[in-house]
């Protein structure tokens, strides 16, 4: 079974640790997205898996065999580069057949595999072109076909969609996912785009400062972030800092500077310690009347309105806090203007408290 296991992988560059004691497992046929801000170590991790960067410590196994020290060309891992890295002096067909040529496969077999790969990425008939005669989206497909033609045990993609325009990017998300499912190939995609990760992955691994923050299904990453970093990084979030007043299994209370108290939920909190509450913007309600059912509700004044098309963001000032609420642009939802008075509220379940 092609299962990739990283155990305690560490990579230091002069001065800083790019990857810090990273352990994770990618299951057979699974599509994993490595997500994180730039400099979080996700690309270094990908390059360690590909063999272009060595690990200072830790072990890497694929299929149960140790590949920690195997050179890239012996790993049978397909790689799609951010810049595509197509060979400009070779035709599309030569690019796609290159890996098999390196493996000294018979010419007829290579030709057949190239045709198959071209069909897979829907570029039939373009084998004779040179890369520079193709559009960005087509080059992307060639890069994918080239990586897949060697029947890799694992497919790695480094920000493959970042050079495409918005519409094409959405299209390629679906396309890459379709191909991955069709072949049942194990795949890892590195991205800094959270919607890309949430939309494509079976599981998302969020990285920060070289460490794995959380690895879970997209919904779990979004709904139940494991760390303050994940909670703050994914989605549009209000962050409030204060002191834990009360902590327990049934819930926690955070006291903000100025005396405002928030009811929320969190683990590993102890009374008296500093903590941070994260509330997703779209989980806030904004209404003219007091929302009686919500434990956290404050009278407020709307100070700013940002029209976003599908939704509208309202900046609201309450007694001691300032919050942003994201409301759907829908007739069922009340409209507010700057200067309007109202009530802002959210449930305890939507108020995640993390120690800091």
């Amino acid at each position: 079974m092609p299962e990739l296991v990283l155990s305690h992988i560490t990579r230091r560059f002069s001065g800083h640790t790019a990857v810090d004691d990273l352990s994770l497992t990618v299951r057979d046929g699974e599509f994993v997205c490595l997500l994180g801000p730039s400099g979080c170590g996700k690309t270094t991790t990908l390059r360690i898996i590909a063999g272009f960067e060595r690990a200072d410590a830790g072990r890497l196994t694929l299929d149960g065999t140790d590949i920690t020290h195997a050179p890239p060309e012996k790993r049978d891992i397909g790689l799609v580069f951010q810049s595509y890295a197509l060979f400009p002096h070779k035709t599309v067909a030569e690019n796609i057949g290159f890996g098999l040529k390196m493996r000294r496969r018979p010419r007829a077999e290579i030709a057949r595999a190239v045709e198959e790969a071209l069909a897979l990425v829907r570029l039939d008939g373009l084998g004779g072109r040179y890369p520079r005669a193709l559009s960005g989206g087509q080059q992307q497909r060639v890069a994918l076909a080239r990586a897949l033609a060697i029947r890799p045990r694992l497919l790695l993609m480094d920000e493959p969609l970042s050079n495409l325009d918005a519409q094409l990017r959405e299209e390629m998300r679906v396309e890459i996912r379709r191909i991955q499912q069709q072949l049942g190939i194990t795949a890892i995609l590195v991205t800094h785009d959270q919607s890309e990760a949430l939309a494509m992955a079976d599981r998302v691994a969020v990285m920060a400062h070289g460490r794995l923050q959380q690895m879970a299904e997209p919904a779990a990453i979004y709904e139940a972030p494991a760390t303050a970093f994940v909670g703050g990084f994914i989605g549009q979030v209000n962050t409030l800092e204060g002191q834990v007043e009360q902590a327990g299994a049934e819930g926690a209370v955070l006291s903000l500077p100025g005396g405002t108290r928030l009811a929320g939920q969190g683990e590993g909190l102890s009374a008296g310690s500093a903590a941070r509450a994260l509330v997703k913007q779209e989980r806030l309600t904004l209404s003219r009347t007091e929302p009686a059912g919500l434990p956290n509700r404050f009278p407020c004044r709307v100070t700013e309105r940002t029209y976003l098309g599908g939704s509208i963001a309202y900046r609201c000032e309450a007694a001691n806090l300032s919050l942003t609420a994201l409301l759907p642009n829908h007739p069922l939802f009340e409209r507010f203007s700057p200067g309007d008075e109202g009530w802002i509220g959210f449930s305890a379940a939507d108020c995640a408290i993390f120690p800091c």
């Binding site: 272009f52 890239p72 060309e73 049978d76 891992i77 580069f81 810049s83 197509l86 060979f87």
Partner: protein
Amino acid sequence: MKQLCKAAGGLYLALLYLFVAGPLLFVIATSFNPATSFPAPFEGLTLSWYTAILARPEFLSGAGVSALVAALASALAVMVAFLAAYALSRPGGAGGRGAMATLLASPLLVPQVVLSLAMLQLASAWGVGTGFWGLVAAHAVYVMPFALRLVLTGLARFDFAVEEACRSLGGGWWATWREVTLPLLRPSLVAGFTFCFILSFVNLPLSLFLTSPSTATLPIVMFAYIESRIDPMIAAVASVIVLVAGLATILLDRYLHVRLVD
């Protein structure tokens, strides 16, 4: 006003180019002049000075020596410069690239006459003659920085990710060089070789103290000839060199899309 500025600019450039290329054009014109003194008023057109070259075997053998020296020196320089430029351009390589590039360009700061003298004195310190290989050595050191510069320019436009792509597809380092790196850098390598070849071929001072009658390069033969007399035949020899240099310039630009500047 704007038009006037433009015209003034054009005139300035025209005068500057005339100044820079004028002497060459005049040499070429003189080579067709039948007058036997140099310089002399124009008396007509003749190719006799070109046929006169053929009667002097030392010019032909000089050209042969020059071509051989230039080819060997340029080949050595381009090979060495390619390896160095590759090392200096690779991403994530050693620090101190700037200092290394400056060090490797240091032959440019050594006057060619001095290099020639130094080579002569090293040979005499070792008690050997300078000979053919001394010539090749001096020329190779001198042209190496030019090759380095051209290959570095080519490598600056080279996407090293294609090498990684090749390796991820199963190519070892030799396959990577053979299939990807060298083919993509070929224009720079050919340009570097051509440029170095011409620079070496036309160079006089490097060879000044290093030649014997059997290893006299073409510029040395011309140098010796001019010492005794100066006539339009030497202009004809120069014109042939100019022609070769001109063809090389066009070749470099037209077919290889590589220039000294970018």
